[in-house]
Symmetry: C2
Subunit: 257 residues, 2 copies
């Protein structure tokens, strides 16, 4: 199967038909402007298109399997939590890719699996709305901090390659605790690091499971409804919801959820 | 899309091309015949074909999405662990189905999602090798116990509807602890319930993440390589591996891993 450039650009991590037309309802009204906003990075700030492209190529052009690969990676990150065996997120991504390849009868060497994941994950561009959204928030005096499942070295490369380093006051990863989000210890540790109470902080993410964890930890939450991303029916809904970071920033700064 | 009976029968939870031709290598040689064998149920003993069929119908015939739905359910079972909010496995299955439907632009009401999951999950048939395998193990005097992510009521119905109740000495579920496998507490609690040491017990499962947890808990492990099921590259390999329960039983009873 030959992949055209336009096809690859459209793959994202979900199917085309997944693009939302409506924004989900919000249910809460936070009382205070956050002092610190934590940001999920992969998909929330950075466009995973590069990874989707390389994963598609590794899986013999099967762009329909990219979403399965990503969910498998997330599942095994939490298997890692459950059994107390930490591996870097990129390693889990590689092993998840090998699993999806086997499940679909696709030959894939260890080297090919490594190449498909590790370099592309560190070379992602920000979504088009991200810089303007970050500038609005930064100008307001709120501290901005990344909080990601990527490794320490991973997030450093990611922010550098995306030219986003200068927007953040700090950069926290799960590597210190060796458990993945949404384990509540991650949010609690992040709050301690930034010396704020839970309700003085916000997490912004494009992933329902991350919003669920931060909400449970007592933080304010902002959901960016990236294409194909939806909140989870059994979890508390986010305080703020928008289709991009510009809209979300405006909601937060004007306190109009 | 019209689904033929034969197409539905072949869907399973994976694609056709996923059927394995080779058995993975084993790496360990357990020292003792187990006193108790714990069994994972869904997919390991029971054929999920009914659920795959109803999920496919709910997703407008998109049988390619069944695997995504199942992985999403597993992911959110562990999100539940991570944030300490327990919901029954069936409820998580329904919410995961709603999420996959939204992601793919498929209209699905709450009632339709419930109907697609809850009744079919309780009405599954055993894989064809299961009764003969259980009889071999039962005849050897080993205690046989189910250990499942299903609810107490769920497993009771499942075993009754599959005519398997008489093969088991006990039936344990995660409902007591309200955390899902592979959280190590589940295996440790199960060992306590059956009053055996970890190395006197075995878990048999068709899921890599379950094998990973039981191995980490110190139990012997037997992996049934059902179609589309493979072990995970970053986890310890199972002590015994076979394509069905008859072969696995023979390996265990003759101690020839």
């Amino acid at each position: 199967m030959k992949l055209t450039h336009s096809a690859i650009m459209l793959v994202g991590l979900t199917t085309l038909s997944s693009i939302a037309s409506a924004t989900e309802k919000t249910v809460n009204t936070p009382q205070v402007l956050p002092k610190v906003i934590f940001f999920d990075v992969n998909e929330t700030l950075l466009d995973l298109g590069n990874v989707a492209q390389s994963v598609t190529l590794a899986l013999d052009g099967r762009d329909d399997l990219v979403s399965s690969w990503f969910t498998t990676m997330l599942h095994y990150s939490l298997v890692s939590n459950a059994i107390g065996e930490y591996h870097h997120f990129g390693e889990i991504g590689v092993a998840a890719l090998q699993l999806v390849a086997k499940q679909n009868g696709i030959a894939l060497s260890q080297t090919e699996a490594n190449q498909a994941i590790q370099a592309p994950f560190r070379d992602l561009q920000p979504h088009l709305d991200v810089i303007m959204g970050l500038k609005k928030l930064q100008a307001s005096g709120i501290k901005l901090v990344t909080l990601t499942n990527s490794s320490d070295a991973g997030i450093e490369s990611q922010l550098k390659n995306a030219n986003l380093t200068q927007y953040f006051d700090d950069s926290l990863t799960v590597q210190h605790l060796q458990v993945y989000k949404p384990d509540l210890r991650v949010y609690q540790w992040a709050l301690e690091q930034m010396q704020v109470e839970a309700d003085e902080a916000m997490l912004i993410a494009a992933h329902a499971w991350d919003i669920a964890g931060a909400a449970k930890a007592g933080m304010q939450t902002g959901f960016i409804q990236r294409p194909g991303q939806y909140q989870f029916a059994l979890a508390k809904k986010a305080d703020y919801v928008a289709v991009d970071l510009i809209g979300l920033s405006e909601q937060v700064l004007t306190k109009q959820p």
